[in-house]
Symmetry: C2
C-alpha cells in the first residue's frame, strides 16, 4: 500500500477528489495511471497538497502556487529544504496583510464614534493605502 488512490489521497488530505482532479488538470499535482487508467499517487503528493492548501491560506492564487511549484527540482522528490525555501517568502506577505488589517482597525477606532464615513474626509473609507484598493471584491472571507 505504498501508493494511494485518489479517494485515499482525498481522505488523508481533506481535499475533495474533484479538487484534486482539478489540480491535476492545472498541473499542480501528477499521478501515474494503472492499466485500467486510474490515478495512483505516491506519498510525497500528500506534502504537495499540504503545501497547496497552506499557500492558499496565506493568500496565494493557484497560479502563484503553480509558479512556486515549478521551481522545485523535477528529477527528485522535494526535500524539506525545498519546501522550506518555497514557504519562506510567505512571511512578509502575511506581515503585510496583518498590517493592512491593523490599519483598518485603528482607523475604524478613530472613526467609530463619529460615524462620519465621509468619502473625502474620513480615512476609513478613503484610505491612504490606495495600492490595496486595486481589484474590488471582498478582501477577506472569514469564518462566516
Amino acid at each position: 500500500m505504498t501508493e494511494l488512490t485518489i479517494g485515499e489521497l482525498a481522505d488523508r488530505s481533506g481535499i475533495a477528489t474533484s479538487a484534486i482532479r482539478y489540480y491535476e488538470d492545472r498541473g499542480l499535482v501528477t499521478s501515474r495511471r494503472t492499466t485500467g487508467n486510474q490515478r495512483r499517487y505516491e506519498r510525497p503528493m500528500l506534502r504537495r497538497l499540504a503545501f497547496i492548501r497552506t499557500a492558499q491560506r496565506v493568500g496565494l492564487s493557484l497560479e502563484e502556487i503553480e509558479d512556486a511549484l515549478a521551481t522545485l527540482p523535477s528529477n527528485r522528490t522535494p526535500t524539506k529544504a525545498d519546501w522550506s525555501r518555497l514557504s519562506r517568502g510567505w512571511r512578509p506577505r502575511l506581515d503585510a496583510q496583518i498590517a493592512q488589517l491593523e490599519r483598518l482597525r485603528d482607523t475604524l477606532d478613530s472613526c467609530i464614534g463619529c460615524g462620519c464615513l465621509s468619502l473625502r474626509r474620513c480615512s476609513l473609507s478613503n484610505p491612504d493605502d490606495v495600492a490595496a484598493e486595486r481589484g474590488p471584491g471582498p478582501v477577506f472571507l472569514e469564518g462566516r
Copy 2:
C-alpha cells in the same frame, strides 16, 4: 445641484456606474427618477456608498451589507449615530481576522525551518481553527 447623476455619484465615490446600478438592482441604494427615467441621487447616498465600500474592506459580503442596511430607519435620513451603530460590530470581526493571520504567521515561523508541512503533524497545514476552513478560495487578496 442638490441631486447627483449616477456619473457624478461615481466620480465622487470612486465606485463605477455599473457597480452603482448593480447595487441598486440588489436594493443597496435607491434613487428617484427624472421624467426621462434617469437616476438622481440625494447626497446622503454618498455616505451609504462609503459604508458599503468600507464594509467590503472589512470583509462583509453584499448580502451581509444588505442586511445591515435593512436595519436603518426608513422614515428618515440615517444619522451619524446610525452609521456608527452599524460599524461598531466590525471591530471584533477585524480582531478575529487579524488573530487568525497572526496564528498562521506564528505557526509558519515554527514550521519554516523544518519544511515538514505534514498534514497530520504540522499545525500549519492542519490548523485547529477548523471553522475558518469552511469555504475554499483565497482567504485574502492583497495588493498584488
